[in-house]
Symmetry: C2
């Protein structure tokens, strides 16, 4: 039997595109041996080839005209690693309209324009692979679409941004402030010069939208997601949390509820024994709870050229075999084919909470706070008053609650802020318990 | 477009077969919605339907004649959940020869007869899905074949037997003896009445053989595997290990070396910070190290009807889409298509070791032991002498070594056993460090 051969173009030679090109070239024989197919990198498309040159990639591959690439009938798969949601969208549409398969690592593009792009793919009898969009090299998209296909997925909890997890790990383990930990992360190449998209939770929210759509087989409105980052996190709260036995993680949470889907990205306190607690440094992990399988978890490097290239090339292999297209045509989970989800407001989010109020060091403050919490049906699980170094003549009152909802917490916080002796809004952080397996 | 419809038969209605049948019946609508296909359970084949009746499965599905099932042209997929390697082999061959796809959870069958059965499948233009054979509901086979397909897999370390992990967790956390922990596991339904296959490491070795074949794309000779179980493990060693900061796990280890493949199942000491250390109770996890992705890990319930049915039905879905067959035809990793691996002898296994000698309580013993270790090029990392309650007038000398190989350890142990004042063979347990990511 003759060996199947398929031409590949990499569009955008940045970190991921460069690593993908390098993997396709350097491991060509390995890939041929394992996959039984010849994946031939034919073009690297960009306007600037300095990175490609630095990586030692053959200049005969360099091409700045995408049209020329798409006019080559041997090109079956284009890897989009341009990034962003403007040019990348145009390029992706162009590739799809040319009937070629797209493999992308672009989470922003998919979270925001995924349904439209999938519709375009469907109209042009082609498909999109996007394993690399979530969790870097972790095959989490495959788990949701394929490995767990026999389950109703009830919830997932993900640490899906390596930059944030690295910064939080440094804050926890070294007692560094957010600003210092960020600065170190930048020095170590683990945070971008402009880290906004990572530290504000934006990147995590893109991944949340993609994974939730597939998990629940529903169309997610990205603009309705509740997203909070780590950029406003105070080291004092990390330390108070640690005294209470908690560590802080930026979690992307998706829960199926009776009346809809609850989705959020926010810093969360988890117990040391929580299954995600040990995931530290730049690593990612996603816990998925399925109706039949129970708790499963997927762990690995969530970013970086080489791990992400692993996921990109896995998609190239699936696309070359025709598997991506079969799944895209058959399964009913793709956001261009599914109904809109009922996305519950953040106020409905249920759980325990950590709250810290910075109050004047005067008698009766704890009593007044407690009264406000009681008025909002919030039961106190623990309370402690601490001297605080941050403000003169002020103390921190740290409270943990029994299960309530975020609406009650928000109202209580607003009321507490108005008390005499309280000069700033209390801080609150959700406490996320381990999800119950086989809950129903 | 009309919906694809495919008939399914479940052969063998035990724990996994029963759970599979129940999932296909109870979640029929969910599966239809998610997969876009109609998977119709048409037959449950067995000689005894008491379990099927207990599960409330419709008696119109019951069929004791496999030939009748295979004469039904609507049957595209047969789930083999008979177990064992004799009748199950005959049944599997019969199904394959009838041109039907097989989905199986039978690790023993695949570890021992996998290459022959795959050859039969290939000759009959059909395929075998076996996600459920390793790690219960964890999609680890898909990770090795598909999610990590762009990698050269360098090593994996698996906790792949829930019964053993549960027993070890009880020994560690409650200080129970092996016999007591086993007895409790049997009471809790977490160990079979005859636990031999689990506790001797046999079940883990089947999974090791299957995963190693796919990881390395080489044919594994099951009979050459080194397999040691937990049934000879002494609580005293669990406790001494804990004093040194180690916990004991039964690990299935596969490592690619320059001159071959190193494969073993054995109890191992790992540090509290090792990525597999937190995996406790009946859970399974497999750490896989890929050349491009680095360290990834997969975690979940490794056994039980419902989690295993999750994997079985995922395979039914892949088979129904035609994906199993495409992968089986295209990829070059299947053991009927690959060359035999060079399986390195256990003596070549490299690492640190824990050793305990029970010696007469008399002067000079530690010195004589140390001399023997030195003669065998083994460097001592730590040594401590402990009173022992097990034997009169005897002490335990507990030693940890720097990296050496198992051949040196075995020779040293034999020499120590012959010393005056030593009445039983010293115990040794490998210390398994975290695998180095991107080692080369």
């Amino acid at each position: 039997m003759s060996m199947k051969k398929i031409g590949v173009a990499v569009i955008g030679c940045g970190i991921v595109g460069g690593a993908t090109a390098k993997l396709l070239v350097n491991d060509k024989e390995l890939l041929k041996t394992r996959t039984g197919m010849e994946l031939e990198l034919k073009y690297i498309v960009d306007v600037n080839f300095s990175r490609a040159q630095d990586l030692g990639l053959d200049s005969s591959l360099f091409q700045s005209d995408l049209d020329k690439v798409l006019s080559d009938p041997e090109i079956g798969i284009c890897v989009e690693t341009v990034g962003g949601t403007t040019i990348a969208k145009d390029i992706t549409e162009k590739i799809l309209k040319a009937g070629r398969q797209v493999v992308t690592a672009n989470k922003a593009l998919l979270a925001i324009h995924g349904p439209d792009l999938m519709k375009t793919a469907r109209e042009n009898n082609t498909a999109i692979g996007f394993e690399a969009s979530c969790g870097g090299g972790i095959p989490i998209i495959r788990a949701l679409c394929d490995g767990l296909s026999a389950n109703r997925i009830d919830a997932f909890y993900g640490i899906v941004n390596g930059t944030c997890n690295y910064i939080l790990t440094e804050m926890i383990q070294k007692g560094q402030s957010y600003a210092d930990a960020l600065s170190d992360a930048q020095k170590d190449g683990l945070a971008e010069a402009d880290p906004t998209l990572d530290v504000t939770g934006g990147d995590s929210s893109h991944k949340l939208a993609i994974m939730a759509a597939l998990s629940f087989g529903q169309h997610i409105d990205y603009d309705k997601l509740f997203v909070q980052g780590i950029d406003t996190l105070d080291l004092a709260d990390v330390k108070y949390g640690a005294e209470l036995g908690y560590i802080v993680k930026l979690l992307a949470i998706a829960q199926r509820k009776e009346n809809g889907i609850s989705l959020r990205v926010a810093p969360a306190f988890i117990k040391q024994k929580h299954p995600l607690a040990w995931v530290s440094g730049p690593f990612n992990a996603v816990s998925v709870y399925g109706s039949s399988v129970g708790h499963t978890m997927y762990y690995g490097r969530g970013a970086g050229g080489s791990p992400t290239a692993s996921a990109v090339v896995a998609d190239v292999i699936s696309a070359a075999m025709g598997i991506t297209k079969i799944q895209f045509e058959t399964l009913n989970i793709w956001p261009d084919k599914t109904e809109p989800a009922v996305q519950l407001p953040v106020e409905d989010f249920e759980g325990k909470y950590y709250m810290r109020a910075i109050v004047a060091d005067q008698p009766g403050m704890l009593s007044r706070l407690s009264a406000i919490l009681a008025e909002h049906n919030i039961s106190i699980a623990s309370a402690l008053q601490k001297e605080t170094e941050e403000y003169d003549a002020a103390v921190s009152i740290v409270i943990t609650t029994y299960s309530t909802n975020e609406g009650n917490i928000k109202k209580a916080v607003d009321a507490i802020e108005k008390l005499d002796g309280v000069s700033r809004k209390p801080i609150y952080i959700g406490i996320v318990d381990e999800h119950e397996e086989f809950a129903d």
